[in-house]
């Protein structure tokens, strides 16, 4: 079994009186596709926002371990440093593209940090030093590579806001990949996709893991995606982890079935005792 790339320990997130995530611990292993699932309002997106620095957790520790052995404590890093230094990229449930910029420009913005140092923090760039020109050509090549992988090459010079919904989702993933992350967090990547687009998405995610060695953490409602591609599933309900295991294990878990489908009235007390409510 490979080592953990992301370790979440005792994560708790409180919004005033609301306990959104309660003492959650789980691991995502390197090279795995880990899925976080759960009914609406279970706290999945809150966990994501804690991992990617958009929320500061009330309690708990989130450790990111790079392949070279360096570790980052994500709860202590500012959000942009999590992408820049800890190499954790994310997408959003409600797509957040730069809609007035072209598809290509979206991918260039994602390569901001390497390009910024290549441009000598803009000074070399203003003077027109050749080093920046080379760096920009490389950045465009990399963008073109990801456009090709997402089937967006023909739309490269169109505004991102002009794309249909499915390609926008793909572009958001490509944009996140342009930051060269070690861990890619996807917040409901299949939401709003038709079955055919879902299949294409599965292939893209498998490709990312296989060819780029990027580990994936995803929130998903679409069980066809979850059960098909994930190696490891964590199930949340009311901010508590109720199950953790391989997809077949989770599928058979009575707590998960109870959380998703409910139980007969006669069994309520028994299940509640089991779940610990």
């Amino acid at each position: 079994m490979s080592e953990a790339i992301l370790t979440v320990e005792h994560l708790t997130m409180r919004f005033g009186g609301l306990l959104a995530v309660n003492d959650l611990s789980f691991e995502a292993r390197r090279g795995d596709i880990t899925a976080v699932i759960g009914p609406n309002g279970a706290g999945k997106t809150t966990v994501f926002n804690c991992i990617t620095g958009f929320y500061k957790p009330t309690q708990g520790r989130i450790t990111m371990r790079h392949a070279d052995g360096r570790t980052h404590l994500l709860e202590r890093l500012a959000d942009f440093r999590i992408a820049q230094e800890a190499k954790v990229a994310r997408t959003f449930q409600n797509i957040r593209l730069f809609s007035g910029m072209t598809v290509l420009e979206n991918l260039l913005v994602a390569q901001h940090n390497p390009l910024m140092s290549a441009s000598g923090w803009s000074i070399g760039g203003i003077l027109g030093l050749p080093a920046y020109g080379r760096a920009e050509r490389r950045a465009i090549e990399k963008a073109a590579y990801w456009l090709d992988k997402c089937g967006l090459t023909d739309r490269a010079d169109d505004p991102a806001g002009d794309l249909p919904y499915g390609p926008q989702r793909a572009l958001e993933i490509a944009r996140a990949m342009c930051t060269e992350p070690e861990l890619l967090c996807l917040d409901e990547p299949a939401a709003g996709l038709n079955p055919r687009e879902s299949l294409v998405l599965n292939d893209l995610l498998r490709f990312i893991r296989k060819e780029h060695g990027t580990s994936l953490l995803l929130i998903e409602h679409d069980m066809s995606v979850v059960m098909e591609i994930s190696d490891h599933v964590v199930v949340l309900d009311y901010g508590i982890k109720i199950s953790d295991g391989t997809p077949p294990e989770v599928r058979e878990d009575p707590k998960v079935i109870a959380a998703y489908l409910g139980v007969d009235d006669s069994e309520v007390e028994k299940v509640e005792a089991e779940v610990g409510l």
Binding site: V109, H112, M116, G125, D157, A160
Partner: protein, 475 residues
Amino acid sequence: MTSATDPNFARPAPPTPVARAAREALFAAIIALGVFGPLLAFRTTQDMQNRLIVETRYGLIAIVVLLVFAGRFLLSLWFTRERPEAGPALGARLSGLMPQGLRDIVRTGLPPAALVALFVYPMMILSLTGGSGALKWIDNFGIQILIYVMLAWGLNIVVGLAGLLDLGYVAFYAVGAYAYALIATKVIPATFPGLGVWAFWICLPVAGILAAFWGVLLGFPVLRLRGDYLAIVTLAFGEIIRLVLINWTAFSNGYEGISTIPRPSFFGVPFNASDTGFAATFGLEFSPVYRTIFLYYVIVCLALITAWVSNRLRKLPVGRAWEALREDEIACRSLGINTVNTKLTAFAIGAMFGGFAGSFFAARQGFISPESFTFMESAVILAIVVLGGMGSLIGTAIAAVAMIGGTELLRELDWLKAIFGRDFDPAQYRMLIFGLAMVAIMVWKPRGFVSTRMPTAFLRSRRAVSADHVKEGHG
């Protein structure tokens, strides 16, 4: 007699455009009568015995109501007229009249042509009007407009590219102006009097750096604010600078301002009538117009540097980050962009150009006071940026010419007196006409003169992004 059961029942034909226009015009006229009737039809005056009497002016109200009727009638006809086809907008149709080749020439040839016109403008004016008449045209129209072009291009970085609404931009203009005025009148004479003739050229970069520094100072506290809140705080910042300049008399001489600011030299050669002056050195007859022409070329160069730098920055990662920030700040942070630094650079660079312009302004005027740096100035600069189309250099320049040149031109319209009588002073109506023109432009082009955005990089072909997708920024 028609009813639903009548076999001959037919839907009433839709009213003809003329009938509809007449009906709408009638309603408009009735409303106008209601609104203007009490205001215009009766006036209280004093008669010969100093009694208050009501004077009726039915003729006037009839004219006004008739005017409203006619105006509304024509407007309705114009809007409901038969359109040959649901064709493209007027601009597109006009340019559609031109063959493709000509259109390309216009598009690629316009900037160089404008540049050439910019450089020959003083010569042209000089040869057309000769001597003293030229001063007004070069100074009031040339230099004045170019200062605003430069200010608008500087503010465009903050508002147009980074999407941060800044209502206090004039503060940096003031910082630049006072930096030059104070250093040139106090610091240099006290320390290196020999550098006096070079004062402008030394102070120009210093003023820019100082303004950038103040830009960063303003930037820090307001970084967490957005939209309306940001606008209010920047507005307050602009007022604070002005109030400090008014009240800290020991520093800035308060309302009286600073006078006898040294005028710029021709790289060390002063513009005066002395033997070492510009005219004598170059064997010309002394005339104040040389300094004005020189100042004109200085501001042309400063404005072009502003344009060049901001155009260049837009194609660099920092410029893309500014535009990305305008589009979606949260996505920026998820991509590892330090939004704090990005906003600060936008504030600093925008402020720096404001500082350069301020320093030039002080050198041109020779006298500055806090009166020149009121909120009205910020509002005019912002209006130019918005009217020009946020983010577009060409649009902004056109807007500056239209707004500043237009208001200056209104001072020249003495011939209107022939129409409206001797008491009519067009300058009094300047702001009214100005406001009407702005409303009209915003109705005609809601996103400014140039609303499309040119991408900074392309894979196959560079195509403009339509304004529908480009966001205005949220502060």
